[in-house]
């Protein structure tokens, strides 16, 4: 029953023109929300929170690093759910959405890695330390890149999306194992002594900016996802009538 209603709902929103219109209306609001929450979160993070007693001001990079890492993993979860739906029901919109997730996830993973490395320079004295979390994120980046590469390697994009969906699911099974194995490997080869996020050593004052930044990355994801999916839809349907009508509408 619930599956049936869900399926009908997907099909309704799944019609290309109606999704296009929905995305066009919603995405500016998400961008706006992202700008506001990010600005407020960064203000709190950079001016309100006192410097870390051990790491000084460089610890502030955490407010970008951690939300980016969380969001990169969250996107993988969303992408997996979309991929499963795409494989079972062959709904084109979920295929497009799943494929649009990958570049955003890759970008945020990259942000996480770059900020981690920027932070590592003053802390560890090197740009790259084989820290368990950073290594896991690096592997995640490779998975994202693999998904994007596989999708791009097919001329028939629907076929590419379905095959890439199989890879997404394989990755989803593997990511927890990768994470565990990397932790395990790291503890055996004496891990880094200072961590960017210590276990439970968070000061209460750090929480508000972190929460705002987490919300802002979620909004960023939503906005970027809708925009990407909308563009992909336009591109795939460029010879169809609804696209022509849409173009006429927006230009007049």
């Amino acid at each position: 029953m619930i599956w049936k209603t869900l399926k009908i709902w997907f099909h309704k929103l799944g019609s290309a023109p109606s999704f296009y219109r929905f995305a066009r209306v919603v995405s500016p609001w998400l961008w706006f929300g992202f700008a506001v929450t990010a600005a407020y979160g960064l203000y709190l993070a950079l001016y309100v929170v006192p410097p870390d007693y051990q790491q000084g001001d460089s610890a502030r990079i955490l407010y970008i690093h951690v939300p980016a890492a969380w969001q990169a993993m969250f996107i993988y979860l969303v992408m997996t759910i979309l991929a499963i739906i795409a494989l079972i029901w062959r709904i084109r919109l979920t295929e497009i959405l799943a494929m649009s997730c990958a570049p955003i996830g890759a970008a945020l993973t990259l942000v996480c890695l770059v900020t981690g490395s920027l932070w590592g320079k003053p802390m560890w004295g090197t740009w790259w330390e084989w820290d368990a979390r950073l290594t896991s994120m690096l592997v995640l980046l490779f998975i994202y890149i693999g998904i994007m590469g596989l999708y791009a390697a097919f001329d028939d994009r629907r076929k590419g999306a379905r095959i890439a969906s199989v890879l997404i699911i394989a990755g989803a099974v593997n990511i927890p194992i990768i994470h565990f194995s990397v932790e395990w490997w790291n503890t055996l080869h004496q891990g880094a002594t200072i961590k960017l996020t210590g276990e439970s050593s968070m000061d209460p004052s750090m929480l508000p900016p972190l929460i705002w930044m987490v919300i802002s990355t979620k909004l960023f994801f939503g906005a970027a996802l809708l925009d990407r999916a909308r563009n992909e839809l336009l591109d795939q349907d460029r010879s169809k009538k609804w696209v022509a009508r849409q173009v006429l509408e927006t230009s007049s």
């Binding site: 390697a153 699911i169 565990f180 395990w184």
Partner: protein, 226 residues
């Protein structure tokens, strides 16, 4: 029904082995490649026995990996090109059984020779003698997973352009746990510690791959035939 599936799988296995033996030189190329990698390492890092024996657990495994990667491109592609692959899916299908048969023959041709010759490779890289047993056990447990996950990457990229590069990119993240558990076990043994936990995790990883990878492979093969 089940009987006809085993028949189909057995027929495929026999034919694969026949083909492998008919092209024995080609089938053993990955093994030669393994030894070229093994020879390159001392040439690259210097022949100091201490350094080499510290690197040996990882290097034997990395070489085995590269060798198996080399053969993956031929796992399904010739069958795609001559039309025998599409016949797997015709009528009474025994795709799962055939995938297993194909992976088994692939492992016998690429994995088993590596295991047989691993003592030689270990000796050339100065692996401590007492770690040799663990190396062999880790290869016996781990190389099937290598074939399984390699098979998954090969089936996903089957009909793509530039399949070989893509294949290497896809397989790397999938086998990270495999490399960590396997080389960890050998390193532990080399340091005279108990490798049991590592080997147990390695076995668990192989069993998980054995349950899930063939399903993914069968699905990916069919999608690639579109």
């Amino acid at each position: 029904m089940i009987e006809s599936r085993t028949h189909a799988a057995a027929a495929l296995f026999r034919r694969d082995m026949k083909l492998a033996f008919r092209r024995l030189g080609e089938s053993l190329l990955p093994l030669f490649f393994l030894f070229t990698v093994i020879v390159l390492i001392p040439l690259g890092v210097g022949p100091g026995p201490n350094l080499l024996s510290r690197m040996a657990p990882g290097m034997v495994w990395v070489a085995a990996l590269l060798a198996s990667l080399l053969a993956l491109e031929h796992l399904f592609r010739p069958d795609l090109e001559d039309g025998t692959l599409e016949q797997w899916f015709v009528g009474e299908r025994a795709v799962y059984a055939r995938v297993m048969a194909r992976l088994l023959s692939h492992w016998l041709v690429t994995g088993l020779p590596v295991i047989v010759f691993s003592p030689l490779a270990a000796e050339m890289l100065n692996l401590p003698r007492h770690a040799l047993g663990t190396l062999i056990v880790s290869l016996v447990i781990g190389t099937p997973a290598l074939s399984l996950l390699g098979g998954l990457a090969a089936s996903l990229t089957l009909s793509t352009r530039g399949a070989s590069v893509l294949l290497s990119i896809l397989i790397f993240p999938l086998i990270v746990p495999l490399v960590i558990f396997a080389t960890g076990a050998v390193s532990m043994a080399a340091d005279s510690l108990d490798p049991g936990a590592h080997l147990g995790l390695l076995a668990a990883f192989t069993i998980l791959s054995l349950t899930l990878a063939p399903i993914g492979i069968a699905a990916a093969l069919r999608m690639n035939l579109e």
